[in-house]
Assembly symmetry: D3
């Protein structure tokens, strides 16, 4: 099985972090394809950037359509996810939804911990959009600036663990998620320091994508075909309901 | 005061319908500038098309930044709205939110009537995103295909009025909204045939934009400046927090 | 256009504050008529006082019926609003609903700041009654007594600004409302000291009333006519569905 | 123990129906005092009438303060209830809240059946105000006019039972409430014809009032004393926090 | 009337505390029968223990079926309640639901105070299961271990009162519940030290059970008869829909 | 990896249906162990039966503790799930939660279709307990009796498909779940007849259990050790926090 891990951020070093976590989590026989956004911002942090990055994500997925059996949109906040799911004939999973829904199988109230207060408003909208507000114990973020996006997970490791402890003790979280692509891999490093289970966002997304690709889910509902103008041709083809290019895989491995 | 009415659909004839309704509703002294999406689909109907159109809307607004005192994103469903609000120093209003919030000032439960079942899922997400589910009596849509986007409001007028009557009698709506850009102007034509008030979506949006532009709201919170790559330069400038071009208006008329 | 600003409190000095803010906000051509409650309490702070004041507000509006094109019930908490809307053939707007719904067009989560803890429970009920709990970041109030109702907005200005800062930083509010008739005008004075937009309650109410009066909303649903006994005759006439007195205006200016 | 049953409608014949149901339900040793609204409408059906009637109810309760150990506001919709609870030192119970909360002890989802569609909007607001929307299976009402308020419960008995059956079969109600003062006593007459329990609104209210009066609940939180002007003197005395008149009972029987 | 107070904990000394509170609260003519769980844990504190204890509670109620007119499941959290209500022909009331619903008749937002943080998660689930989250101001618990289950209410009395004060001042509770069987009787002892009313859980449950047993509620909906295997024979008989044993009372005293 | 599929119903033929579906869905290398409830009812349909069956499920899981790496409680409605999760050191998944949360990764609103109206109330409580009401388009059930539990899925196949079509067309479901152990395998047979994806409940549960067992989730929060009396000794040992018997596996395969 081939899973496309599409990083809608433009930071190639964050893609590397994501791919490392994804390959560690993938089942034997699953191949992970990486992709980094060709345009946009290094790190999506709000609705404006997510609007642009989500459209870029659709282009990234369309361009590679037929080459993968499932896709993961690899930014917490899931830019472009709902649209991608409508367009593609294979499953698409978001980092945030996968982490949160997996956490719901582990505990009653998940706590989200992230590295910058600038992300909180967007993440809260994401919790609400998933209808999971009653399952969420809260969102805690570190204040202050960070030196490097790629290393913030290591640089602020102790502060992130301390915030996670407070989520458990003060907010009643019984399962945790470290949120944001740069924190990929952190769960595995610090789970032993925390009193409740921690769901690793990338591992959850890859494994959920594997499940969806392997289940016999039947017909995916697709949007009705529609003409468009001015869009990149792969995306235009998807919107037009054109058949995938010759040679492309159309069906998940089963 | 100048208000940019940005139609994120590519249909210029829909822009004409929208502009006619907007100019009818505008206060004396308000000038309406129209814009039609340079790329995308003729009529946005779902999350995938809204993802793309919302990014196009940001480009449209960025390109004209400094030329208007407020903007209206003129598609029910409000593609790109949350992001636009973060980026611009002037108010931005969506057709759906303006119609729904205005309706909340008129009745306890608004009913939404539209011309195609293909729109219902997206509109329902929009109601939820605005946190207005408890104020919404429901969404009703006409089944079947329609001949022409630009004339569907006139062609199906009786069926739309009948659906509106059912919203009042069966669903308890005490105020109505005809939703979707092609239905602009319908409210004015049929209000006398209905037993409860009808909020005209474009009129509501234009008038709310005028209010926001004229109130002394103080500092708009803007996203922190960020570098980007590969984006159209006006949008990149907004994301970078660059000062507007010389000669552009920066402050609303007061 | 004539708008009746009905202060359901008995404090004439608060009416003056309200009128000053209203006249500052009104569009050219809008005339503001003021009225102070002839009976009740100087400052409504709870459900008991709102029950009485709301009935007085209906009398005030009934007595002047035909003399105005729209009315504002000028107490945050909106006593009598839902009833007034059922009885009158012209739009009626409440200070709280206008401020909150306008704030929803500016940000995702509004914060309410007021001058006395004794108001919080009533204001919270008001947020809930409007179905806006998910859009409200919280309510913060100053503790302690205040020397003068009419001057509390100036006397405690710094403390109110400090509470507003905490709403933004600790509760995630991205737009603010200073609530309570005595705080009218405060938004304008302190907006420059705050990092997010501030909606002035009276300005929002007056401008929303203007919109509603000028839109072609069609038939207002009225309660069926009913006989009553012992009520002041203008209110009894409204409840009885009697035609307005000769010479009264029946239709909004358009 | 003495319980004041205050009918905020002006219909003395409805008071008789209420009193009959109340006396049938009261425990031995409980005396029921009846009172009919001295002004207002014969039958409250909407927010406007409830606003006026609620203020009249406060006057009725204030006038007799000291003469009763608990009070029931005997209109479904509970006009004036929240305010009365703040003002009085004895418990006050509403017909709607008592019926709904009692029903919550009997089943998972209560269904409300009433005799006129004109009541539905107000009753729905009442369910919401009590925060019980998730426990309510719905509200069903008979269409058409009714000949006599006092006899509608008997005249339309079969239609009401049929509507109740539909609530159970189609809406999943597992407990029922016949709502509206004129339907008092209906539950007792028709319970044997229905497949789920039926809560009699007046019986529930009287028995709940008895409980509250007999429990050691401790200090009731009262509003801070406040001067007023132009109100009936007993109500003004309550708002002013004046001691009850000499000879009045201040403490519930225990 | 005979009410079975079934303690699903195995602690006989807690049963004594419960019985003392129950007998103090019961109306004249009500006889309270006590029962202690024959197996399980001394004090139920979580979902696992509640699952077992709830099944034991069904056995306890089945074994004594016909001997009582109503039953109270005497653990806050109400293990087995929903099932018991389906099986028995007499009313069954839980300590938590009775306390919370009674509190809703006294104030707008109840606060729950308990003696161990280990209970909070289970109690929160109980609030949600009752659909009362919007009426609940929060749950506060004492940290640290306690010396004796039977005496914790007296040993930590001051700390519990302090927590209750904070619920009122910081969380806006306007009525309080001390939750957990070992705190039975505490409300009566400390109500005078608190600024808002306090609902005693056992008193509320006994009085609500009395009401339900005395009201003419009509047919209780019962589960369809079903064969089972391996269950204690009284429970098997209830599930099989067998008639109660000869000599047993089937109908509440009225 | 070994997964225990515990059928809390006593029907061995339903266990066979479940095992067939489980083995079809399991990954290579996963061994499925089946278990049928030794006491209880053939088919759990309500809260009473779920209370008993959930306690039996805890016994079943405790008895085999150490023999499996993850467990599935194989009844839609998930009896005993929350408790099992607290007690065991390995993951436990319920049929309902797994199906619903997986469906949330596929569509915006899942529809539940089942074979008997007698199940609807319990399933609705289960949706609410999972906090997923806003993601659920509704629950539809076949009326009438069924001949055989084991064959109802085949006997009523057309009717179930028809109900599923109505969920899509009338209720807006964009993904479906056939609910109830006897319907295991139905999704695979009929998915091609339906216009939206169908999640197979057993496949979802087995695959989610595999994920949870293979992820590095860290410390599972366990209840504090507690003495009990009269319980089956394996369950008593779990509650007492005793170490698993020698030779038992304690750690998931990784």
């Amino acid at each position: 099985m081939r899973i496309l891990l599409a990083n809608p951020n433009t930071s190639a070093d964050v893609t590397e972090i994501l791919l490392a976590a994804a390959r560690r989590a993938a089942s034997p026989g699953t191949e992970i394809l990486g992709a980094t956004a060709p345009r946009g911002v290094p790190y999506i942090a709000n609705q404006a950037e997510a609007q642009v990055a989500g459209a870029v994500a659709l282009d990234m997925l369309a361009e590679r359509a037929g080459d993968y059996d499932a896709a993961v949109i690899a930014a917490f906040g899931d830019p472009g996810l709902l649209g991608a799911r409508e367009l593609l004939s294979v499953p698409v999973v978001g980092l945030a939804e996968a982490a949160m829904l997996t956490a719901c199988l582990v505990g009653r109230r998940f706590g989200i911990v992230t590295f910058s207060t600038g992300l909180v408003s967007w993440y809260r909208d994401c919790v609400d959009l998933n209808g999971l507000a009653t399952r969420c114990a809260g969102i805690r973020a570190l204040g202050g600036a960070f030196a490097s996006l790629a290393s913030v997970g290591r640089d602020r490791e102790d502060a992130l663990v301390a915030a996670a402890h407070r989520m458990v003790e003060e907010d009643g979280a019984d399962v945790l998620v470290f949120a944001g692509a740069p924190l990929s891999g952190l769960a595995r490093r610090v789970a032993h320091r925390l009193p409740v289970p921690v769901v690793e966002q990338v591992a959850a997304a890859i494994r959920q994508a594997e499940i969806l690709a392997s289940l016999d889910l039947g017909t995916r509902r697709r949007n009705p075909p529609k003409a468009s103008e001015g869009l990149a041709s792969p995306l235009a083809a998807l919107i037009a309901g054109d058949p995938p290019p010759p040679g492309a895989r159309r069906t998940p491995d089963r």
